[in-house]
Amino acid sequence: MRNNRKSYVITGICLAIVLVLGYLLVTNIGSPVGRPLTTLSPRGDKSQAIQNLIIPVFAIAGVVFILVEIGLVFVVTRFRRRSDEVDGKDEPVQLHGNTKLELGWTIAPALLLAVLAVFNVNTILQMDDATDPLEVTVIGQQWWWEYRYDLDNDGAPDIITATEAAIPVGRDVRFKIQSNDVIHSFWIPALSGKMDAVPGRTHQVILQANEVGMFQGQCTEYCGLSHGLMRMQVKALTPEDYQIWLTAMTTSPAQPEPKNELAVQGQTLFVAQCSYCHQVNGVTPTSKSPYPYSTVPDPDYGKTVAITMASGNAPNLTHLMMRQHFVGGLLDLYQEGGSVAQAIPEGTPDTNNIKRWLRNPEDVKPMNPNNNQGMPNYNLSEAQIEQLTAYLLTLK
C-alpha cells in the first residue's frame, strides 16, 4: 500500500557508499609506505599474531556496523512519516516488545563474542611465549630510552647504548622494560604491542623481527613535557651483521688522533663539561656518584652500573656514531638518513644536526633541565661546538 521504493533506494545507496569507502580504507590504510608507525603492517611474529586477531575482530565489527547502520537507514526511511499521513488514521501498531526477539539479540551477540573470546584468550597466552630469547634491558627516562645488553649473563651490562637497539632477525628477543622516573611505554608497532615501563617494576615484551629493517617506535604513555618526541628505533640485522655490531660495540673506540686537533680539544672539553652526565667508556671518570637526575631509581640502576659505565642519567655516548639516529630518533646522524638498517653505519655524518643539538638542545626537544629533566643549554661558543662535534664524530 505504501510506496517504499525510495526507502530501498536510499538504503542501497548508503550501503554502496559504505562498501566503497570501506574497500578504499581497507586497501589503503594498512600500507606502511610513508607511515613508519602503522600498526597494520606487521613485520614480526608477535605483531603478526596480533594482526591475526585484529582482522577477524575488525571484520565482525565491520559486519555488525553495516548491519546496524544500514538497518538504521532502512528503518528510518521506510517508516518515516509521509506528508499524506494524518494523526489518528492508520496509526502504528502499538507493539510493546517481543521477548523472544529480545532474548535473541541478547544471546546472539553473546555467543558471537564467546567465539571470538576463544581466539582472544589464545592470542593473549601466545604473547609471552619465547624460545631462547636474547635479553635486552630497556630503561625509559624523560625523554629517551637506554638499552643494556648483558652478553655474558654476569649481571653487569656489556653494552650500554641509547635510542637505537639492534636485534638479530629471526630470534626471539625479550625486552625487559624498566623506568627511571615516570611511566613510559615501549612500542615498536611493526614488531609488537606496547608495554609500560613502570618505575620499580620490570615488565617484558617479547618480539621477533622477521626481516631486516629499521623499525620506528614511540613512547606512548604520557610522560610529561616531551612525551610526544620520545622516540626510539629497533634495527633488525641479519645474524651475521648482528655479530659485527656486537664486536664493534664491545671494543672501545680509538682515542682521537693527535693530528685531529679539534677532536683532542673536544675531548678535553667533553671530559670537563659533559662528563657530569654523559659517559664515554674509558675516557670519562667513572667513580662519580650518579647525577641526581631522577628520583626513581630502579633497584639496580645507578648502584652497579653507575660505577662502571655510566656517569649520570644521560645517554652513554661511547659508540654514538654507531647509531643512525640520536636524540630519540628525532635527528639523523648521517646524511643518507637512517631508514635502512646497517650494522656499522656508513656515509657522511650530518654534523649540522649534531651542532644544532649542541647549540640549543631545547630548541630540538622541549626539556626542563632546571628540574633535572633533560639536557641543559650550555651556551657553548661556535668554536667549542666545532671541537665537540669533531670529538663526537670519533666515537664509532
Partner: protein
C-alpha cells in the same frame, strides 16, 4: 515529603505579591531570603527546576571553554611541526580539555536534565532534599571555577585527565596545576556525592501514588542507575585524590616508587572510578533517547523491561572491567585475560539498547523533528564508538591501539556521538517545557546536520590516524610520519562543529526574540508525548503539579490520551486539553529559599586555595563552611514567615537556652506541639543533615 498539603491557597508563584509587602526585617542581610524574582531568586533558590537550568547554563559555558581548548588542540595539530602552542601549554590544554569536558560539561549537563526532569517524571513537587540540591549545584560550580582559575594562577593541570602517578607527583610536576586538579576534583566530587544521594532518595521516595519502579519512564530509570553508580564510584576517586593530595602536600609517598609507593595503585583506583564514570556519562543520554524515540515514532518503547534491565546490567558490569584501560600496563597475563573477557561481554546489554531503539522505530511513523534527528544520530554514532570499544576489548589488539588516536576516536564517538548528541536532542525536546517556547526547527536542522558532518569529519579520521600509529597526547608530529592529511581534515571538522554550536546559540537567541515579539505558548503537550511532565503547563509552574497525579500505567499520560483498537493500532480516547492539568493549584506549599547552601559552597574553594598557597586562606573558608552547616541546620526548611504568615512555629515553646530540664509532661507537650507545627515543615529537615 517535601511538600505538604495545606488548606490555604498558594501564594508563592506569582512573584510580585501585592498582599504581603516586604516587611523590613531587623536582620538586614542576615534575614531569610524572600526574593522570588530577579537574580536573587536564582542565588537563593531551592527549586529543582531553577537549579537544573543553572546546571545547564553553566555546563554549556564550560562546553564553550572545553571546546575552545579543543579548537586549540586541533589548530596545533593541523599541520606537522606547528609552533602555535608550546609543548608545555599543549599538555595543559589537552588535560584541561579532558577534565573540563568530563566533569564540567557532560556530568553537569546530565545533572541539569536529571534535576529538572526526575521530579516531573515521577510526579513530585521537588527532590527529597531541596536545599541539598542547591548545595550540590553551588559546590560543583565553586569547584569548577576553582579548577579553571588555575589558568590564572600558575598554569593548568598537565598530567592528562587520568593523571598517572608518578608523573603527577611533586618531583615531576612541581607546579600547582595538579594541586588544582586534585582539590578541584575533590570539591566537585563532594557536590556530586550530595546530589547523587539526593536524587537516589528522590527516585525511591518521592514517586507519585501508583508510580512503582517498573512504571517509571526510562529516562528516570537510567538516571537512577547513574546516581547509584555515582554514589559508589565517587568515593573511590576520592580515595585516590586524597592520597595524591597527601603525596603532593604532606610529604607522603603513596605513588612514589622511589619510596616504596606503587604507581599501579593510582591506576587501579582511578579506573575503578573511571570506567563506571563513562557509563555515568552516557546513560542519561540513553535515557533521553529512550524518551524521544517513542514519542516521534508514535509507538511505545520496545521491550521496556529489557531497556531497564540492560541499563542496570551495564551499571553492574561496569564495575568489573576497569583494568581494560591497563592492558599495556604490565599488570600480568592473568589479569589481562580476565578483564579482556569481562569487557567483551559488556557489549551485550548495550547492544540490546541499540536494537530495541531500532525496534521501537520499526513499524512506527517517524517524524523527523530535531530531537528525533539527534536521537537517530546517537543510535548511529554511538554504535560506531561502541564497536571500536569492542575492538580494543581484545587485549592483544589493544596493545597496538592503546594511547593512539584510535582510542581518541573511540571515546569521542561514545562521548560526543553518544552523550552529547543525546543531550542536544534532549535540549530541543524539553526546551518548550522549560522555557515556554520552541527552538527554531529549521535552524535546529542546520545545527544537527552541521554537527553530524563536523563530528564525523573530526573524529572519523582519528580512527585511521590511530591505526597508522599516531599516539595521543603528542603536541606535534613530523611530516615524515604521514599523519598530515587526516589531521588537517580533522581540524576542519572541529571548526564545523564550532559552527554548529554557534548555530545552536543563534537558535537560542533568535527563537527567544521571536517568542518575545510574538508569544505563542506551545501548550502543555507540544509533541504529543508520553510521560507525566507533559501533563502540566509549559513552562513548568513553580509548583510542578497542581494536583499530584495518580499513576496506573507506564506512560500514564499517553494512556490517558490513547488506547488501541482490536488490531493493536493506536486510537485516541481523550483530547489532550482534557487530560492536561489546568493551572489552578489549591493546596501547595513549597520549600523556602535559603542562602546557606551558597555560603557553605563558597567556603570550599577558599579551603582549596588555602591548601595550595597559604593555609591562612583556609580559615575564612572553614568559617564559612561551619557557619553554613549550622545556619542551615537551625533554619527551618520552610520559612515560618513566608507568605502565609506565622503559622507553624508559633506553637513551639520558645525555650530560653538551657533552662531547667523539662518534666516528662512538658516533654510530651513539646514533642506534640513541635510536630503539630511541623508535620510538614519538619518534613524535609533531614535536609539539614
Amino acid at each position: 515529603m517535601a511538600i505538604i498539603e495545606d488548606q490555604r491557597p498558594l501564594e508563592l508563584t506569582t512573584g510580585h505579591d501585592p498582599v504581603a509587602p516586604e516587611a523590613p526585617s531587623p536582620l538586614g542581610v542576615f534575614a531569610r531570603p524572600k526574593a522570588n524574582t530577579g537574580w536573587r531568586s536564582w542565588v537563593n533558590t531551592v527549586d529543582h527546576k531553577k537549579i537544573g537550568i543553572m546546571y545547564g547554563v553553566a555546563s554549556f559555558f564550560f562546553l564553550l571553554v572545553g571546546g575552545f581548548e579543543a579548537l586549540l588542540i586541533r589548530l596545533q595539530l593541523s599541520v606537522p611541526g606547528n609552533q602555535l602552542l608550546s609543548a608545555d601549554l599543549y599538555n595543559q590544554v589537552f588535560t584541561m580539555h579532558g577534565v573540563t569536558m568530563v566533569f564540567m560539561v557532560i556530568m553537569p549537563m546530565a545533572s541539569a536534565f536529571a534535576n529538572y526532569l526526575i521530579p516531573l517524571q515521577i510526579g513530585a513537587r521537588d527532590v527529597s532534599f531541596p536545599r541539598m540540591n542547591a548545595l550540590s549545584l553551588w559546590i560543583w560550580l565553586a569547584g569548577a571555577i576553582f579548577f579553571n582559575s588555575s589558568w590564572l594562577l600558575g598554569g593548568g593541570a598537565d598530567g592528562g585527565w587520568f593523571n598517572y602517578a608518578p608523573n603527577a607527583g611533586v618531583t615531576f610536576s612541581p607546579g600547582t596545576g595538579i594541586d588544582f586538579y586534585a582539590i578541584g576534583l575533590l570539591i566537585m566530587g563532594i557536590g556530586s556525592t550530595v546530589s547523587a544521594v539526593n536524587l537516589t532518595v528522590t527516585v525511591l521516595n518521592m514517586r507519585a501514588p501508583g508510580m512503582t519502579l517498573m512504571k517509571m519512564p526510562v529516562f528516570t530509570w537510567m538516571n537512577f542507575v547513574v546516581q547509584v553508580l555515582l554514589v559508589f564510584a565517587l568515593p573511590v576517586i576520592t580515595v585516590a585524590l586524597l592520597l595524591l593530595t597527601l603525596d603532593r602536600m604532606f610529604g607522603a609517598a603513596f605513588f612514589d616508587a622511589s619510596k616504596g609507593g606503587d604507581p599501579f595503585l593510582w591506576e587501579h583506583l582511578f579506573w575503578i572510578f573511571g570506567h563506571p564514570e563513562v557509563y555515568i556519562m552516557v546513560l542519561p543520554a540513553f535515557g533521553m533517547v529512550s524518551e524521544i524515540i517513542p514519542v516521534f515514532s508514535r509507538k511505545p518503547i520496545f521491550g521496556y523491561p529489557f531497556m531497564v534491565g540492560s541499563g542496570i546490567a551495564i551499571g553492574f558490569m561496569g564495575w568489573g572491567v576497569w583494568a581494560h584501560h591497563m592492558f599495556a600496563s604490565g599488570m600480568g597475563q592473568l589479569s589481562v585475560l580476565a578483564f579482556s573477557l569481562s569487557t567483551l561481554f559488556i557489549a551485550v546489554p548495550t547492544g540490546v539498547k541499540i536494537l530495541n531503539w531500532m525496534a521501537t522505530m520499526y513499524g512506527g511513523r517517524i517524524k523527523f523533528s530535531v530531537p528525533m534527528l539527534f536521537s537517530i544520530g546517537l543510535v548511529g554514532m554511538f554504535t560506531i564508538g561502541g564497536l571500536s570499544g569492542v575492538t580494543h576489548a581484545f587485549a592483544p589488539a589493544d596493545t597496538q591501539q592503546t594511547d593512539t588516536y584510535y582510542i581518541v576516536a573511540h571515546f569521542h564517538y561514545v562521548l560526543f556521538g553518544g552523550a552529547l548528541l543525546g543531550m542536544m536532542g534532549g535540549l530541543y525536546f524539553w526546551w518548550p517545557k522549560m522555557f515556554g517556547h520552541f527552538l527554531g526547527e529549521r535552524t535546529g536542522k542546520w545545527h544537527f546536520w552541521l554537527m553530524l558532518v563536523g563530528f564525523n569529519l573530526t573524529f572519523g579520521p582519528m580512527h585511521i590516524l590511530g591505526l597508522q600509529g599516531m599516539m595521543r597526547r603528542t603536541y606535534t608530529y613530523t611530516s615524515v610520519q604521514g599523519f598530515s592529511m587526516w589531521n588537517m581534515v580533522s581540524t576542519i571538522g572541529a571548526f564545523i562543529i564550532a559552527l554548529s554550536l554557534l548555530t545552536f546559540m543563534g537558535n537560542v537567541v533568535f527563537s527567544y526574540r521571536k517568542h518575545r515579539k510574538n508569544p505563542v505558548n506551545p501548550g502543555a503537550d507540544p509533541w504529543d508525548a508520553r510521560s507525566l511532565e507533559w501533563m502540566i503547563p509549559s513552562p513548568t509552574p513553580e509548583y510542578n503539579f497542581a494536583e499530584i497525579p495518580v499513576v496506573e500505567e507506564f506512560d500514564e499520560f499517553w494512556h490517558r490520551k490513547y488506547g488501541h483498537d482490536e488490531n493493536g493500532r493506536l486510537v485516541r480516547i481523550a483530547k489532550t486539553e482534557d487530560v492536561v492539568e489546568s493551572s489552578d493549584p489549591v493546596t501547595v506549599h513549597l520549600p523556602s529559599p535559603s542562602y546557606w547552601p551558597l555560603v557553605l559552597a563558597l567556603g570550599m574553594p577558599l579551603v582549596g586555595y588555602g591548601l595550595i598557597f597559604n593555609l591562612w586562606w583556609a580559615v575564612p573558608g572553614v568559617i564559612l563552611i561551619v557557619a553554613g552547616i549550622y545556619g542551615w541546620v537551625m533554619e527551618p526548611s520552610t520559612d515560618p514567615d513566608a507568605g502565609h504568615g506565622h503559622d507553624d512555629h508559633h506553637g513551639e515553646p520558645d525555650e530560653p537556652e538551657a533552662t531547667e530540664l523539662a518534666a516528662p509532661e512538658t516533654v510530651e507537650a513539646e514533642l506534640v506541639s513541635a510536630s503539630a507545627g511541623s508535620t510538614g515543615v519538619t518534613a524535609e529537615e533531614g535536609d539539614s543533615k
